[in-house]
């Protein structure tokens, strides 16, 4: 029988970040989701360039609500990242405050977007633009909603004390996903709100 011995050199068990596997899984999820948005933006622009009449039919959508809302969503990423520092440095108040503020800001984003939707004179079935507008922004809203649910579950787990400065993989990955949802909004915002102003 072989002799079994333990060497001095050690390896971490179930590492976090790039040393673990969960981070890589999240990167795969983000990659495939990013391509989903890329194909949708392609479809949106394709419908626009092939359109016989005006695109968008009533002129470019107003920035009055969308621009502040964009800034709000991007700011929520900054707040979340700031809060994340609280987990690592064991400052519970900073972490919970940052997390709750992020959830509030994300919810406000959804509310403002819903308000903008209700102000539209057209619907999803009015024409191809209506279909594309509501589906693309709706797809993004669904991602914000998924992110908010994830952050809320994280909040509950945080209150139950499931995370520590050393073990908070879930928190980092949820934050990574939230950042993705925000960055992808920039591309959607550019496509839907800015591109029609310059074409």
């Amino acid at each position: 029988m072989a002799e079994i011995r333990t060497l001095d050199e050690t390896l971490p068990v179930q590492g976090t970040g790039r040393v673990g596997t969960a981070w890589w899984g999240m990167v795969c999820l983000i990659a495939t989701e990013a391509l989903l948005f890329a194909f949708f933006i392609f479809a949106f622009l394709y419908l626009g360039t092939q359109s016989a009449g005006d695109w968008p039919p009533g002129g470019p959508p107003a920035l009055r609500l969308a621009l502040p809302n964009t800034i709000l969503l991007l700011a929520s990423s900054v707040v979340l990242q700031w809060g994340l520092g609280g987990v690592e440095s064991r400052r519970r108040g900073r972490w919970l405050g940052g997390l709750i503020a992020t959830i509030v800001m994300g919810t406000a984003f959804v509310a403002v977007q819903a308000l903008e939707w209700s102000n539209k004179p057209f619907g999803m079935g009015s024409n191809a633009y209506g279909s594309a507008y509501f589906s693309l922004t709706g797809l993004h809203m669904a991602h914000v909603a998924a992110g908010l649910i994830a952050l809320t579950v994280i909040l509950v787990w945080s209150l139950l004390g499931r995370f520590s400065p050393e073990r908070h993989e879930h928190v980092s990955l949820a934050a990574l996903y939230w950042h993705f949802v925000d960055v992808v909004w920039l591309t959607v915002f550019t496509t839907v709100y800015l591109v029609p102003r310059f074409t």
Binding site: M1, T6, V19, L47, E169
Partner: protein, 641 residues
């Protein structure tokens, strides 16, 4: 060289077995996460779908055997050719390769399981349930009837009001989830869970093929998911994505579909080409000629494969500049394929071929692949394509490439790895007879299709007039199809007889060079008692090959016996950097797939409140799945040797 099994004490092996074995009973059946069990399930399920798609084809060949036959009505014919395509492309061709990769990867890479075992089980259950979902359409007589690429406007509610196309649109999204989670698992498995020393330049080619295909899936499947979601919304909720009246574009469907569809074609062939690249050298008694060019060609094919989708749309009236670009790209893609073909030929040429059944299939594959490749280069030319598109010439081409590059390697590969999976040798004599029936039947069935296509016989028409003069060719095709099907039965009988009373295989019956042959057949639940250390591409041939200086160590390395554990390594160089805790049996993947099925059925009948309940169930299961596990921090290294 002493094998790992001999070096590790029997008590230690029993301990590992107890840690890794699947629980008995229903819990184990539904909850197993063993990649070997999942891999075999994938292969068996995909073969059942292959037989179903094959029976659909045979019924069509009866209808087409002579002009003006009326075995089938036009609508029945539409449903059959559509389901034949959907079954073969979505429910057979990729899943069977996923089965091989699931079974083989951890054994080839020197690991104890895939990176995400539960995700692996999930991808299988979703595959099974989505297949049943699509086939449920047959039960109510409303199967998809617009071909496997389902063009609008025929697929729109106006012209196709029944549930047929909704089954298609939702079914494709459903099976796409399985593909996506499976692909993510392959990508992370390749990057992280290999044996130390299994660096990227030592990977078996099937790993390169599946890796490339998996990355492509992550990038391409969203396109078809989006297209199907748009179509479903158009049909059920009045959106206008594809409806010209509302400013929509029918061509958008084609762009999105083929943005997915063409990379997908390479997803279906690259891992199968990998099977050949890995198994063929065993029977030529030498390493593969040109490992590095073949690996690079695999990746190159995929990269170029993302830039050729418009060659499916040459006849749609798009600008000449676009046609020229995509035509050129389609010519160029022949180059990496040719590199692989020359590598296989050179391997046979310079080796000492042993003509066992797998090598017959691989040699047959090369012949068929070259014929299919030539007809592919022909249709890459725009002017010729305008003449040939939507004729049987294209049907002949696609069957030569898909059966040639997918089915032949799969049949050869299954015969080759069957002893590893079951511990017994398949019947060699019957296998040989089966090959010749299949090879003759295949060519008799599909070669005349080229000619009937050149004579102008259109695809997807349920019958044809006698004046077209293709009755004889079609009869030959029909006879060939039945011969081919008979050959498949002989092939399966050879496996079955091996399973019942074949000779015991031992660990390495073919004297093969790769790592999976170093463990017993069938392998123990834990795969490797000791995680091996790899020093070359051919760990089992090192003593014979002159240019290999280092020696792999199969009997010394990480033991890892404190619960389910395997080793994590750095992505490129495969230096060990973490001990990964692996999950055990779990019902969560099965339950999640079940909840997804409820969701899709609810969407099919637009029962939105049921869909909402199913979504809530999904969320609850996901929370249980991802629940953080309390685990003390530890660092250690445990080595046997």
């Amino acid at each position: 060289m002493a094998t790992a099994a001999e070096r590790v004490s029997s008590s230690e092996r029993e301990k590992l077995e107890a840690i890794w074995e699947t629980a008995p009973g229903l819990l184990g059946t539904l909850g197993t996460v063993d990649h070997k069990v999942i891999g075999i399930r994938y292969i068996v399920t995909a073969f059942v779908f292959l037989l179903m798609g094959g029976v659909e084809a045979l019924v069509m060949r009866v209808q087409l055997a002579q002009p003006n036959m009326h075995v089938l009505s036009p609508e029945q014919y539409n449903q059959l050719f559509s389901m034949h395509g959907v079954t073969m492309i979505f429910l057979y061709a990729l899943p069977v390769l996923s089965g091989f990769s699931n079974y083989l990867w951890p054994l080839m890479l020197g690991s104890r399981d895939m990176a995400f075992p539960r995700l692996n089980a999930l991808s299988y259950w979703i595959f099974l349930f989505s297949g049943l979902f699509i086939y449920a359409s047959f039960a109510i007589g409303a199967a998809p009837n617009d071909g496997w690429f389902n063009y609008v406007p025929y697929a729109s509610a106006e012209y196709n009001p029944g549930p047929n196309i909704d089954f298609y649109a939702l079914g494709i999204i459903f099976v796409g989830i399985s593909t996506t989670v499976g692909s993510a698992n392959f990508v992370v498995t390749l990057l992280r869970t290999r044996a130390p020393g299994m660096s990227v330049n030592r990977l078996p080619i099937i790993v390169w093929g599946t890796m490339t295909g998996s990355v492509a899936n992550l990038l391409a499947v969203p396109a078809v998911t989006l297209a199907c979601a748009m179509l479903w919304l158009d049909r059920n909720y009045g959106t206008q994505f594809f409806d010209v009246k509302g400013g929509g574009q029918p061509l958008l469907w084609q762009h999105l579909f083929w943005n997915f569809g063409h990379p997908w074609v390479y997803v279906l062939v690259l891992p199968a080409m990998g099977i050949v690249s890995d198994a063929l050298p065993t029977f030529c008694r030498r390493p593969l000629v040109g490992y590095t060019p073949v690996a690079i060609a695999t990746v190159t094919t995929m990269v170029v494969g993302f830039g050729v989708w418009v060659h499916h749309m040459f006849a749609t009236g798009i600008p000449v500049l676009a046609l020229s670009f995509f035509s050129a790209a389609s010519f160029i893609i022949a180059i990496p394929s040719a590199i692989a073909v020359f590598a296989w030929i050179a391997t046979i040429w310079t080796g000492r071929p042993v003509w066992k059944v797998p090598l017959l299939y691989f040699a047959g594959f090369i012949v068929v692949f070259v014929i299919g490749g030539v007809s592919g280069v022909m249709t890459a030319s725009v002017s010729l394509d305008w003449q040939l598109t939507d004729t049987y010439f294209v049907a002949a081409h696609l069957h030569y490439v898909l059966l040639g590059i997918n089915v032949f390697p799969v049949l050869g590969g299954l015969h080759y790895w069957f002893p590893k999976m079951t511990g017994r040798m398949p019947d060699e004599r019957l296998g040989r007879i089966g090959f010749w029936i299949i090879f003759v039947g295949f060519n008799l069935a599909f070669f005349p299709m080229h000619v009937s296509g050149l004579f102008g016989m259109p695809r997807r028409i349920y019958t044809y007039p006698a004046e077209l003069g293709v009755g004889g060719l079609n009869l030959a095709t029909s006879i060939g199809a039945f011969l081919f099907a008979g050959g498949i039965l002989v092939y399966l009988t050879a496996l079955l007889r091996g399973y019942r009373n074949g000779a015991p295989a031992g660990p390495n019956p073919w004297d093969a060079p790769t790592l999976e042959w170093s463990v017993p057949s069938p392998p123990p639940a834990y795969n490797f008692a000791i995680i091996p250390q790899i020093a070359s591409r051919h760990p089992l041939w090192e003593d014979r090959l002159e240019d290999v200086e280092d020696r792999s160590r199969l009997d010394r390395g990480f033991l890892l016996d404190r619960g389910r554990e395997t080793l994590g390594v750095t992505p490129l160089d495969a230096e060990p950097d973490v001990i990964l805790k692996m999950p055990g049996d779990s019902l969560l993947p099965f339950l999640l797939a079940l909840a997804l099925s409820i969701l899709f059925v609810a969407l099919l009948v637009t029962a939105l409140w049921v869909a909402a309940v199913a979504a809530a169930l999904l969320l609850a299961i996901l929370i249980a799945w991802l629940h953080p596990v309390e685990r003390p921090l530890e660092e250690r290294l445990r080595v046997d040797g």
